[in-house]
Symmetry: C2
Subunit: 146 residues, 2 copies
Amino acid sequence: MSIMKEALKTFEEHLKLNKMRMTQERRQLFSLVMSLKTHFNSEEVLEKIKKKNLQVSRATVYRVLPVLVKANLIQQSLLQEGQAHFEVKWNKDHHDHLICSVCNKIIEFKDNTIEILQREIATKYGFYLEDHVMELVGKCKTCKKN
Amino acid sequence: MSIMKEALKTFEEHLKLNKMRMTQERRQLFSLVMSLKTHFNSEEVLEKIKKKNLQVSRATVYRVLPVLVKANLIQQSLLQEGQAHFEVKWNKDHHDHLICSVCNKIIEFKDNTIEILQREIATKYGFYLEDHVMELVGKCKTCKKN
DNA sequence: CACCTTATTGAGACTAAATCTCAATAAAAA
DNA sequence: TTTTTATTGAGATTTAGTCTCAATAAGGTG
Ligand SMILES: [Zn+2]
Ligand SMILES: [Zn+2]
Ligand SMILES: [Zn+2]
Ligand SMILES: [Zn+2]
């Protein structure tokens, strides 16, 4: 079976499992999105829909992309979650974050081995490294129990 | 010299260096923000301003926070940059990203050692790890030259 | 197939975060 | 003190995304 048919089957099974229906709009979004070779955002999907004269509304795009994420067919970058957020840097060492997906608790940590590996990766690809984000998301000790 | 005075001096030097002026509003924001012990966002700063009856407008808050970032006094999480962004996951292995801050080129990579270390960190803090972001930001080979 | 229940859709109103506009103000240099 | 020009605040605007609700259409059942 072709990769695309398998993916479609996954989608259909996910829908059935969640008492959701396969619609024209979802089929069209599936085909369009799964054919994309690069990163994309919702507005770009919307533009492609208009270029191809497909009949799918903005609201539906914003509704279906999260379904494709849940079905494990696409992934959403964790970058861009809520509003811009800051912390004082002055006089503080660099650190990265563990974030609880339930209670939003933030734990700061630093792992020197990872920091070194990150620099090696940048070098390997010819990048001059300016900054990085590393955020580990999961359930904290407390929220894991419930 | 106290830590705060040093930080203030850094701020003042940054302003002078960029032909910017020290104002009442900037002084007040500096004090308020530098005293924060945790993560915060722009609206929270605005609320604190109102509670303290300080005279600083929303527009100014949104204008000054990036100045403090440029002066290296606070840092902005790279999480939350522009609009939500996706990529096809089906049939693709997990990977992380190198992003060029000039031309926005995205290079995908995976480092197994880092992946393992991330799981160890989660375990150490009692987290059940669900996901992670690691984005290395810098200047790519091409943009480095210019 | 025809019927019925209910999930889904689209248009446009709405929201939240952030940015922009522009006249009035106030640093700070002369 | 005068002059120059960076900065400010109020509110309009933009952008990304969500919500509402009547109309539609899946798809299960007989
Ligand atoms: Zn780090
Ligand atoms: Zn938690
Ligand atoms: Zn990874
Ligand atoms: Zn580049």
